[in-house]
């Protein structure tokens, strides 16, 4: 199942022209700088941009083409706005029920009790939106959208208006959405750490156009895209929790037979996790060094030597257990080790971050 879209929208000093087919499952991030058209694209999908021309087919159902336009209130989408946009005249309960009551009973798949529990809203039900914190407001906005049992959930920078504390409060709920509901999510973000944590798939937008689109893990390490060239470039890897060593307070993760050790995390054995490894935290050795404090030394293959990202510095594309990894080294090291694509070397990984 997929979302097949093509939108063309002209505004003064801005032109959006995007054609794509994205999977109608999992979490897709619409990523790019501010002003690149991410929010506009999301609004087009929701039917909030009636002047946009184009085509939108969601799971085989036409919502828009050259001679039809399903208005916003008839599209089965849930929309979480950046600023929440709760109704000031209704309580939290009233806000949650607003959309729920407006869909036919047989389509009420998502149940209020389920959402109230998932988002931890029990104690807030009788409050007015003016009495809520930013994080609470955003949780209600998500609950309200989910209760319309949408075919796709659209979220416009749901974390952008929040401070660090509220963000930390919301993120676990977003991850639970991801894990527990089968509703596909499209979310807009300009923060790569959020995307790394939540998304499976990514659409990279630039000046109203689609620069690239695909699985997130592939896009973050592709040499022709700005993500891998950025200062904070990092690779995204998937691993499984194998064991915990409580004496040393470390956890052992595995990726296709390759082992990774990191400080003890409270995770069930067997669970799949997502790791991010910064390119600048990876060093290269031709043979596995002994007598070194770095715990993770993985056998890798050099796949690609990128152009200089800044004078004297080179980005290397590596492959470890079938997954892509990035390393940032100096040009002098490149020459000293005489690295070439296809070579088998060792990657010393100084730090691994668990992102979800």
């Amino acid at each position: 199942m997929s979302i097949d879209l093509h939108f063309d929208l002209t505004r003064p000093e801005f032109h959006l022209d995007i054609e794509s087919r994205i999977p109608a499952r999992g979490v897709t991030a619409l990523f790019g700088r501010s002003g690149c058209g991410k929010t506009t694209l999301l609004r087009c999908i929701a039917g909030l941009e009636p002047t946009a021309r184009g085509r939108l087919i969601v799971e085989g159902e036409t919502w828009q083409d050259h001679n039809s336009f399903v208005p916003a209130h008839k599209r089965p989408v849930g929309y979480v706005f950046q600023e929440g946009r709760l109704f000031a005249h209704l309580s939290v309960r009233g806000n949650l029920e607003y959309g729920y009551r407006r869909i036919p009973a047989e389509q009420q798949v998502v149940r209020p009790q389920e959402v109230i529990e998932l988002l931890g809203l029990e104690s807030l039900m009788d409050r007015r939106s003016s009495e809520l914190s930013g994080g609470q407001r955003q949780r209600v906005a998500m609950g309200r959208a989910l209760l319309t049992s949408p075919r796709v959930l659209l979220m416009d920078e749901p974390l952008a208006a929040l401070d660090a504390i509220s963000k930390a409060e919301i993120l676990p709920y977003l991850e639970r959405l991801h894990d527990e509901l089968s509703i596909p999510v499209l979310f807009v973000s300009h923060a790569i750490d959020e995307v790394m944590r939540l998304a499976d798939h990514m659409m990279l937008l630039e000046d109203g156009r689609l620069r690239a689109e695909g699985p997130l893990r592939e896009l973050v390490t592709r040499s022709d895209l700005p993500l891998a060239q950025a200062d904070e470039a990092s690779a995204l890897l998937e691993a499984q929790v194998l064991a915990h060593d409580d004496d040393d307070h470390v956890s052992i993760l595995g990726m296709n037979g390759v082992r990774l050790t990191l400080l003890r995390e409270d995770l069930a054995v067997g669970r799949k996790v997502r790791l991010s490894i910064h390119a600048r935290d990876v060093s290269i050795a031709l043979s596995p060094p002994r007598d070194i404090s770095v715990l993770n030394c993985l056998p890798v293959t050099v796949t690609e030597i990128f152009d200089e990202t800044r004078p004297g510095e080179i980005l290397l594309g590596l492959e470890v257990a079938g997954q892509a990894l990035l390393a940032r080294i100096t040009r002098r090291s490149l020459r000293a080790l005489d690295l070439k694509p296809g070579m088998s070397v060792y990657a010393l990984i100084k730090s691994v971050a668990l992102v979800g």
Partner: protein, 226 residues
């Protein structure tokens, strides 16, 4: 009790004034709400002209407004020439005059209230499956309650206080078109200051109470969209 203070003709003038204000306010809310909604939402160029026309009674001498309405609604006026009734010097004529006269006091507060509801909230309602009418009744009206309260109070109070338009279009027929403000004028003309005092004090008290209630309620319930 009231009869011991004011004569039967003044009593009739008082009731007529209240009836006129009540009917005019009702008509104003029915007509003013869609007009204010249109003004709040439209981007048409003609909006500027309509806004100006609505605001005209704020600055125009009421006699000017009354004069044109008299020409329009009176005997040999265009309405009658097209086979309609002559509204001048009738209660209906008074209501028509009052509606024009008090229009800005109803339309402007409503328009401001509707604008402050904002596109953002309406889009949220649309994304929650509410169609246009549904959005208007379940989001716009509840969020505009203060605007409706202001519009109702100002429309009513302003109609109670009118003089010039009523005199031009309604004349001064006791029991039919004579309102309190005109009765007061008559009493003063006849040097009956006692009756003028009673009626004036009544209007002063009534107007004060209505505005006082409005400010008190608006100050207490902050029903804004913020």
């Amino acid at each position: 009790m009231i009869e011991s203070w004011i004569g039967p003709q003044d009593t009739a003038a008082l009731w007529l004034t209240l009836k006129l204000a009540a009917v005019s306010t009702l008509v104003l809310l029915l007509l003013g709400t869609p007009l204010a909604w249109w003004l709040a939402r439209t981007r048409a160029r003609i909006k500027l002209v309509v806004e100006t026309l609505v605001a005209l009674p704020l600055v125009l001498p009421p006699t000017v407004l009354g004069f044109y309405l008299l020409l329009l609604l009176g005997a040999q006026g265009p309405i009658q020439a097209m086979g309609g009734p002559a509204f001048a010097f009738t209660f209906t004529g008074l209501v028509i005059g009052s509606v024009f006269y008090s229009l800005p006091f109803v339309v402007q507060p409503l328009q401001n209230a509707f604008v402050s509801v904002g596109d953002a909230t309406l889009e949220a309602a649309a994304s929650l499956r509410a169609g246009p009418w549904d959005r208007f009744f379940t989001v716009v009206i509840p969020l505009s309650l203060r605007g409706f309260l202001t519009a109702t109070t100002l429309g009513f109070a302003h109609t109670v206080g009118e003089f010039g338009v009523v005199l031009m279009i309604g004349g001064n027929i006791p029991g039919e078109t004579q309102v309190v403000s005109i009765a007061i004028y008559d009493h003063v003309e006849a040097v009956d200051y006692g009756s003028a005092h009673v009626l004036s004090a009544l209007l002063l008290g009534l107007s004060f109470l209505m505005l006082f209630a409005l400010y008190a309620i608006n100050g207490r319930f902050k029903l804004t969209t913020a």
